[in-house]
Amino acid sequence: MIRFKDVSKQYSTKDGGLTAVNDVNIEINDGEIFGIVGYSGAGKSTLVRMLDGLEAPSTGEIDIDGTDVAKLNGSALRKQRQKIGMIFQHFNLLWSRTVIDNVALPLEIAKVPKTKRVQRAEELIKLVGLEGREHSYPSELSGGQKQRVGIARALANEPTILISDEATSALDPDTTNEVLELLLKINKEMNLTILLITHEMHAIAKTCDKVAVMDSGRVVESGTVFEVFRHPQQQVTKNFVSEEFTTQKGDTTMTLEELVKKYPEGQLIRLVFHGPQAELPIVSDVIKRYPDLTISIISGAIHQTQEGALGSLDLQFIGDEAKINDALEYLKKMRVGTEVIHHE
């Protein structure tokens, strides 16, 4: 169990004080995949660096299984760090070492005897699917392969927590999916708690159980991925969710602005529903109930999350404002998430 309690971090810079993390409270259960999403500069890296004791919080407590990490130092802190594996956006492998020597590095640091190191490193290389590349150097590998080495290395000391800081941000979409699949597999097989930091809602939807949204150092929203996707409360969250819904669709990919430009009339409304609701004839109900409204379907998308399918449907409503509002009320009653994307 990881618990951030009233955690803040201030930096003093030449331009004065800067609050990178502002009064954060988060609880993460063992074995969970917990997502932290936010734009660049939101304070995500600072937050997890504090978890690993690479940075000390200005105020607050960071508790891992009853130990306050912020109070550790010297060899106790180094011992604690061995229980946390980290993977990074730019992999941070040593180019001077081969794959197997990179994977064995944490074991060298933990003073594990040589034969055991080699054995464990070989197991891990197999786990991440890099057999046959043991003696390659990082410069001979693709981005996805480098990140696999990073993952193997992070797992070397049998950590209980894995922190992934933008680990897929430098990878193409297919490779991103492969790496996310690998993280899911590791989470299940090793019962590892994973903190997944990203600015891509897609990665969160695919892997996480819970998510916290960060903005300017604060956690502005958190909960299960399903709930947050269905009923985003804050504007940042809405942006992330709709980015995810609009950037998923191959050649019909359109940003919100493009949608608005193309369908300037009436109101553009996004419906968000999940499995059971999708089976009800909700849209045809609305059309029947409000015959005065012209309703066109613009686009739709389905997402698989850890808790089931989540769909989105963008509709254009043209007609009397009051009628449109009635229709929206009706949809809400049917427990369909609605969001007005554009209002003429």
Partner: protein, 231 residues
């Protein structure tokens, strides 16, 4: 002795004492290599001190950084020919003599080590900070970071820098030779200049050039061999 003048004077090979040339060459080679080893060792130690104390808080680190930095800058800026003379008493105390190749070693080391130390510091600063942080997050100590990251990851640069430094050391040994430290510099000064034997000057020049080429070649090879960044 030769009385030839003009361009012909370069090619009077019968006037060359080859055994003296050989022993002068060996003196130059071992003066250079011995001082190179010491320069690399001291340079890396000083470079590490400069690097490690650079951005640490605490006035102890700041004082060390300032003192070492100052000494390095002072000795780096003294022209070598003056430094030898300045260090003559030190040579006398340390190696018991002020003439011969041994006497040149202290001044060779003192002049080149600070030069190399600054290079080493900058190579360490170029090591990817993300990699250092990754290794710290594995629970490495400062010493662990030095031995597992800083030194291996900057090895090609350290070798390239040592090559450049060694080549300038060859130049210094020649200068030291002129004031009695032995080696090719000494031979060329006494035979070539004072005794007007231009052939000795030419042969000495060729040998020094060959030595420089060999050092450069070997250095380049090692750099290529250790650099796994681009394969």
């Amino acid at each position: 002795m030769s009385n030839t003048t003009g361009l012909k004077s370069y090619f009077q090979f019968h006037n060359v004492d080859w055994s003296a040339m050989m022993s002068a060459t060996w003196e130059t080679i071992w003066m250079t290599l011995l001082s190179m080893v010491a320069v690399v060792v001291f340079g890396i130690i000083l470079g590490l001190i400069l690097y490690e104390t650079r951005s640490k808080s605490g006035w102890g680190f700041k004082v060390i950084n300032w003192v070492v930095g100052l000494l390095v800058n002072i000795f780096r800026s003294i022209p070598y020919i003056i430094l030898i003379i300045l260090l003559l008493p030190v040579s006398k105390t340390l190696v018991g003599t002020i003439i011969g190749p041994k006497a040149a070693l202290p001044s060779l080391i003192v002049s080149a080590a600070p030069f190399y130390a600054r290079m080493v510091e900058s190579y360490f600063r170029e090591v990817d900070s993300g990699v250092i942080e990754a290794v710290e997050s594995m629970g490495a100590t400062t010493w662990g970071v030095i031995t597992k990251v800083l030194l291996p990851e900057s090895k090609p640069a350290l070798i390239a820098g040592a090559t450049v430094t060694t080549i300038s050391l060859i130049g210094y040994t020649a200068m030291a030779g002129a004031i009695g430290a032995g080696g090719l510099g000494n031979l060329v000064y006494q035979e070539g200049f004072q005794a007007y034997n231009n052939t000795v000057t030419l042969v000495g020049t060729v040998i020094i050039c060959l030595f420089v080429f060999v050092v450069q070649f070997v250095g380049d090879r090692f750099v290529k061999w250790t650099d796994k960044r681009t394969l």
